[in-house]
């Protein structure tokens, strides 16, 4: 059974997911970071496959993608690295990235490989519902992969319902319409929006992302959702090529409180 579903069956509060870019800060960092995050208590992981033109990302993830590409990270290399993923990692793992590298690799082949190495789901922000449904849905379903869509404060209720219907895994609720790495929007309207989505009683769990950076923002997100995702704030701590692992336990502890 899909590890994501197992996780959500077992736990419906204070779920922590951490995003990091594969191949950053060094090419071979991918699995080491994953293991350290698991040991430190992360509930699931999002491994970013880098793209040269990440238009939904702020400076931190742009930079990590640029370095990762320069380090030689490609989807081929990533799947090679992930062959041993399930030797040590037991928590759910999603791949996150942009449509173009996936299309070049071949979406069918990508899904097959992802399932083969034990990946549980995929998040592709620039692959919209229409194109997903028309062209790729079967590849995801045939390989048992969850596909996760984003919802923003501007997404209509009707569209959220449609997204819920097409999603398996969870719904990625954005804290505001923004690129990654901006400060969390804590306005009253945002609270109202979270509450509105929560009250829709969707079939998928809600995980809030974008702008989660510390215990306070993590707690705030968990008032409304089943968990939250930390991305830029974590990637920012990985700059030191020689010592990027030792801070991880403190970082995770500081978020979870």
């Amino acid at each position: 059974m899909n590890r994501l579903k197992q996780l959500f069956d077992k736990k419906d509060k204070d779920i922590l997911s951490v995003y990091f870019t594969a191949g950053y800060p060094t090419l071979d960092a991918t699995l080491k970071i994953a293991e350290e995050l698991q040991n430190a208590g992360a509930d699931f992981l999002e491994i970013g496959f880098p793209y040269s033109d990440p238009l939904a990302d702020g400076p931190v993830i742009q930079k990590s993608s640029e370095v990762a590409i320069a380090n030689g990270m490609t989807l081929k290399v990533l799947f090679e690295q992930l062959k041993s993923l399930r030797e040590k990692i037991h928590i759910p793992v999603l791949l996150m990235g942009y449509a173009n590298p996936m299309i070049q690799y071949g979406v069918k082949e990508f899904c097959k490989k992802a399932a083969e190495v034990g990946v549980d789901g995929v998040i592709v922000p620039d692959l919209p519902m229409y194109e997903y449904e028309e062209l790729y849905k079967d590849d995801f379903i045939d390989n048992g992969l969850s596909n996760v869509f984003l919802v923003t404060p501007q997404t209509s209720e009707e569209r959220i319902k449609k997204i819920d219907g097409l999603s398996s895994g969870f719904i990625y609720l954005l804290s505001s319409s923004s690129t990654t790495g901006k400060a969390l929007n804590v306005s009253d309207e945002i609270g109202i929006y979270y509450q509105r989505v929560k009250d829709m009683n969707l079939k998928n769990p809600l995980i809030i992302g974008f702008g989660i950076s510390d215990q306070k923002s993590f707690e705030r997100a968990n008032q409304y959702a089943n968990g939250a995702i930390v991305g830029s704030a974590f990637v920012k701590t990985l700059t030191d090529k020689d010592d990027y692992l030792s801070h991880i336990p403190t970082f995770v502890k500081a978020i979870k409180g």
């Binding site: 033109d53 238009l55 984003l150 923003t152 319409s177």
Partner: protein, 396 residues
Amino acid sequence: MAHTNYRVTDKGYYGDFGGAYIPEMLYPNIEELRNNYLNIIAQPDFQAEFQSLLKDYVGRPSPLYLAKRLSEKYGATIYLKREDLNHTGAHKINNTIGQILLAEKLGKKRIIAETGAGQHGVATATVCALKGLECVIYMGEVDIERQAPNVARMKMMGATVVPATSGSKTLKDATNEAMRDWINNPVDTHYIIGSVVGPHPYPEMVSRFQSIISEETKKQLIEHTGSPSPDYVLACVGGGSNAMGMFYHFLDDEHVKLIAAEAAGLGVNSGHSAATSVLGKEGVLHGSRTILMQTEDGQVIEPYSISAGLDYPGIGPQHAHLHKTKRVEYVSITDAEAMDASLLLSKMEGIIPAIESAHALAQLEKMTFKGDEIVVVCLSGRGDKDLNTFMKYFNL
């Protein structure tokens, strides 16, 4: 014979190409445009203001000029569609006038745009000044240095020019930055894309605004020759907006041969080129499925051309479709060929073309004519902005 359809579907596709590959954050903006642009454009008051600005502000119709000496040299009847005579010196303003009126109707208060050479940035700053709207132009840090006079023009008209410092710091990165701005300002801002690229409905909307070029050309051809159909129509392609405008009303007239000139840079296989139709593969760039230059891993390759306006790693989705269906022939012109053509037109007709447009002119050199053929070349812009490059290249 089954007639190939070159027009957009209601889902935003031209054959296999197009669509709207955008993150959810951009969906409401794109949806608002998609739901409204056709209605707004069709409104009589929109049309009245659009036509009046094109006439009195831009200076349309642009002349269709019979280039006699050029015709003699090549042995054909060669007309130049003089987009270089438009206000701000290029075809780009046809689109920015249309989009600023649209933005106004949508109640937008703030305009953003990307620019490479600065021509689209200038055309956007111009219409923002005209309408008193806030204007923010994203431009690659490298291009800001290369195109200082256009940066100054934008600033004089009150625009803020923001350097794009990410990636390769050129046009594609300026486009990314503009999209990021739009993601972060989803309600009050309109993004004026400068070519027939980006998510649906941009390619279709921009080509409609540029279609005035071929609409006028057909009428002018009737005056000149008695027939609206020439034998050949030539235009250069960066993203492809002047070419789409120039081809638009000829697409279904299969008798008219359409030729699009891409920038080969130092040579198609030199590693320094922008010849997308030859070097590119299908993929997704800036929100649409099209042909783009990319590595095996799907990373976008930075193109090269001596003309900053053709220095783009993709082409618009409709071009990708016209390429695949072979309705348009795509040819590659090197820096050197374009520079020679610039000098030739200057010396023979007293017209200094933009280096972009000279790519279309250079193709004439490679064609053989039977003598009575009628050829229209889109002179998309004037060469004033390229004087520095000419001075260096020709040691003037």
